[in-house]
Structure formats: structure tokens, C-alpha cells
Symmetry: C2
Amino acid sequence: MAERLDVDLGDRAYPIFVGEDLLTDTTRFAPYIDGQQVFVVTSEIVAPLYLDALRDTLSGFDLDVCIISDGERNKTLATYLKVIDELMTRRHNRTTTLVALGGGVVGDITGFVAATYQRGVAFLQVPTTLLAQVDSSVGGKTGVNHPGGKNMIGAFHQPRCVVADTSVLGSLPRREYLAGIAEIIKYGVIRDAEFFAWLEANLAVLLDQQPAALVYAIGRSCAIKAEIVQADEREAGERAVLNFGHSFGHALETLTRYETYLHGEAVAIGMVMAADLSVRAGWMSRVDARRIRDLIEAAGLPVRVAGDIATEQMLQTMGMDKKVVDGKLRLVLSRAIGCAEVTDEVAESMLRATLGSGDSLCG
Amino acid sequence: MAERLDVDLGDRAYPIFVGEDLLTDTTRFAPYIDGQQVFVVTSEIVAPLYLDALRDTLSGFDLDVCIISDGERNKTLATYLKVIDELMTRRHNRTTTLVALGGGVVGDITGFVAATYQRGVAFLQVPTTLLAQVDSSVGGKTGVNHPGGKNMIGAFHQPRCVVADTSVLGSLPRREYLAGIAEIIKYGVIRDAEFFAWLEANLAVLLDQQPAALVYAIGRSCAIKAEIVQADEREAGERAVLNFGHSFGHALETLTRYETYLHGEAVAIGMVMAADLSVRAGWMSRVDARRIRDLIEAAGLPVRVAGDIATEQMLQTMGMDKKVVDGKLRLVLSRAIGCAEVTDEVAESMLRATLGSGDSLCG
């Protein structure tokens, strides 16, 4: 009883399965593995919880495992190279299939290894955090961080399938679960007012991890992401709306060295900033901005920066973000809940006002 | 008066220009650069010779330059990271265009940087060695070496155009020029008996670098490569015929630590081995094998290993090559001059005989 969604990318098309107890369902894996070699990449945190179950499910294959350290600060070229070294040592060839069992960091690194090992091998995404299930496991963005910026090294490489088992979310720390909710809220803001309203009405059951609500919310999020990725796989334009709140969020993460905020928390604050800026730019009503802020806050997520981050530092950091095109800062703003657009016509003065004021226009 | 060939890869299609004095012809570059930022990667050897000319040609752009150390032993993740660091420092964004000015090492590293910097930016190939002009600059293979094997880390990433200026070959050391001839001979062997015969008849003028002969030979080589790449961009099957002689050649390079042979020289020996094995397998006549060996020798290229390389070491090293699929060694053999095929049905005993005997069946 899993929901199946299809990401339609021609010869790179793939299914996303969302449902309970999928990790032990071999039919979700075997059809997407061509050769005999399988190489599971997972983390020190996830391995003790779910590696044995996955081993059983994949018992028909020649399985090797590489366990990496989790956390954004380990999403580096050094960790990438550790996985590559292990693939070489275990003599995996071009027909091997990598399986990313873990959160966004595991998925991004594994995907980048798959994109570049022997110029590209197959991989499966088995996201174990809510954030990874609704965001990073779908769409083919892979990569690692550079000391100068997040995801500066990477590739587009689509998985063969995504297996989002909602049962594993029970073991997720509360804070990480909520961080995933932030990205779910984002999908409502950028593309689907009805879904946003559903989230307002059903927040309690969702926070309670009620299975049906969870499968619906993850499925709807993946469907929106798939739709946007299909239209613009390599982010030439429209796909950038997925970055709503992220220019701010990435800068916050960089300035706090990935120590203060989980990615979803930084995005939560970033979305409130983006809503504030949307109001200042005359794009969005204060009513909608307030609904966004209220839903984020009701989900137990931060809506403003804790402590001081200087406006100049934020501007500087955002300037080195990938979203800069020929000197102009590209940002995603929202016209109204359900409707986001990329723009490079935001006056620096407005951006300064937003950065200086926190969430004042959303309150 | 440049020859233009088109590599037809749908939305990744691009032209190859072959001719004299193209480096100073801005019309070969400007139409293929979208933004204002251009980042030239070149080597310590090539920079003093041609960088100023290219700077003049690209004077309408914001130009940064990164000079790397040349040579196969520098084709590493460390050199790759040096280029990435420089792009970050100079704040190049996603609309930047990289230009690879140099031989195969510069082209492969620059291409891999372009494939992965900010998940992929544009790049132009300006090959300055004969080998790079007829082989590595065309087809989108990019990458770096891993201590355990050549090109183990990389990606398929097509350039926006290839500018093969034959005038620059005059400054190429004789040995490197001849190494390029080896790959030209390969195209005759794998795909074009008529071209092979032309090479036999015109070897003297080609070795003399007579311009018309050079443009013809490079153009024909690129056309054959383009045709094969179009049919199988990501080397799922047929493209592997381009590796004729390369399984042997790569193993020789690895075992001699890239110190004894230039790539083309290793391929020259490898092609004689592949011809020998083709005869042993009952695929090729001794007459054809002898013509291959004779042409290679007449071009001043090596036809056998200098000194001792143990058969077991060769087998072991070839076993870790990318051409291994599920435990079977895939090799490219030739039915006759002009006709090569991929096979995984070579008996180990025959391979041992070839490795043990050098070039005996071609003599």
C-alpha cells in the first residue's frame, strides 16, 4: 500500500515510492538494480537502526557497505573520496548500484559519488529523514560543500528510484522531524495554496506523525517537486523557485558554520525573511506573510535569527551563493501563497531592510 | 578556411573547428560564450606559448586564468581542487565559461571542473596537442585519475565547441606529435580501412606536418570519433571500440607509473597487442595485423614493451580497468582493418599468450 509517483524525465524517468514498511519490501529495490554488485552508503547514526533490514532485503546481491560520518560539516570532498576509495578497494565496476541509506548528507554525497565514479553509475535513494524524503532525495541534485560555499561541487544525477519509507521517521529526533516540516510548508507557499491550507488544518495530526497524513504530505511534496524538476531539470529557470527561503537559509548556515541550525530550521527563518521581502517589494499581502510565519511558528520552527548576524555579513555571504548571475542577486519571492517567482530586481535597500528587521512585516 | 564538423547530440550538439590560425579568430569563441565571465585553464608549458594570443582573442570578456602543472601524474583530485578553489576565489558564477587551453590533461581536468562546479558550467576545448585534437577534446569524457586507476573519477560533459588550431602543433615536441599519430592510426583500424590506407600512403607528409594532410587527418579522426560518440554517448556499448589498444595501454601506463610512456605510445604498444590477440582469437588475418604493426613502427612509435613487465601484473592491472563488467574482461578486438568490436569472450589463455609474447603474431 505504497503511493507511487513518477518523475517524468525521459530516459532518466524514475518512480518515487512513499509508504509504510518499504525498507523490507524487495520489490521496491530489485527491479532497479541491473548488475550483481550493490554498494550501500549509510551513516553512523542510521546503520545501527536500519542497515540489517536493508541487508536482508538485498540479500540476493553482492553487498558492500560504507559507513560515513553524518552532518553537514562532513559533506566534503574528503568524505566523498573515502567512499570512492572503498568502491575501488572492493573492486566495484561500472554496473554497480549505489544505495544511499540516510538523510540528505548521505544522499547528496552518495549521489555525487554515483555521478562521478567511473563517469557515472546507478544509484537508489532510501531517505531516512523527513527532509530527505520530501526534498533532497528527489530531483537529482547531488554534491558536496566547499569551504567557500554550500553545494559548490556537484552534479545533476537522477536516481533509479526513491524509496521513502515513512516507518523509519519514528526514530527521528523531534527537532529533525520538524526541520522536514519546514520544506513541506515551502511546497505549499511556492506552488499549492490548497495544500498550504490543508497543512494549516492538519498540522496537529502531521506533527503527531499520523501515518495517512504523513504519506499524503510527503506524497504531495514529492509530486510538486517532481512537477517542477520535470519542467526544468538543470535549473535553467523555473526550478529555482524550489529555493524559496534558501538564499537566506544557506547564508545563515554558512555564517553559523552549520552548527546552530539544521537546514530546515535555517530555511524556516529564510522563508519568513523571503515573505517579509515579498511584502516590502509589493508582491505579497501582509495577510499571506503572516499566515506563512504563523504556520512555521506553529510547527515549532524558528522564525527569526537567534542572536546577532550582521546585515553586511549576510549580504556578503549571499553574494557568493550560486544564485548570483552576472553580478545580480537572484532571489525567489512569492506573489501570494501558492505562487513563487524568481526575480533579480530586488533593490538592495529592501534586502537590507529585511535583513535588518528580522520578521517585522510578517508579524 | 577551417573545416567544421558537427557532433550531433541533440541539445548537447557542438561544432569542432579544425584549421590554421584559429586561436586568434574570435568568431570561433565568442558565439559559444554566454555570460561575461571566462576562466582559462592552461599549463605551465602552454601558457608562455599561447596564453597571450588567447587573451587577445577573448579581450571582450572578464578573463581569469589558472595555470596548472601538466602531465598525467598531475591529473588528480588535488589539481582539480586547485582549479575549483581559484574559481571560488575569483567569484565565478553559474554563467561562467571555462576554456581548456592545453593537452589532454588540461582538457580532462577542466572538463571535470566544468561538469561539477556549481553542478555544471559551460566549457570550450582548445586542444594544443595532436593527441588532444584527435581524441580527448571530442566526446565529453572528463575526469581525473585515482591512485587505483586511470580516469576512475569523472563525468560525461560535452564542450560547447572544440577549436583545434593546427598551427600550434609546430611547437609540440616530436615525441608528443608521434604519440598523437598513434590515435589517428587507431581510427583507421577500428572504423575506416580507406583512411588507414591513406595513412600508409601519406605517412611521410603527415610526419612532416604538411598543413593540408594534417587538417585532413585530424578532421577525419574527429569525424569518426563524433560518429561513434553520437551513437553511444555514455559508452553503453559501441563507444567502447574507441578503446582499441587502450586496455593494454592503460595497464602499461599504470605499471610504469606514467613515467615510461606517453599515452599514445602506450596505446601504440597496446594496439599491437590487441592485433596479436585478434589473430590468436581467429578474428584477424596475419596480413592485417602486420600492416597495423608496420604502420605504427613506420610512424616511429614503439611496438613492444621495453624491458620486462610480468604477465600476471598486466592481468591484475587490466582486471581493475573500467572495462570489467561483472567479472568478465571486456576487450576490443578487430575483425580486419576498419572493423573493431567489443567482446567479453576472450579466453584467459589467449590473453596470457599475447602478454607473454609481445608482438610475435604481428611480425
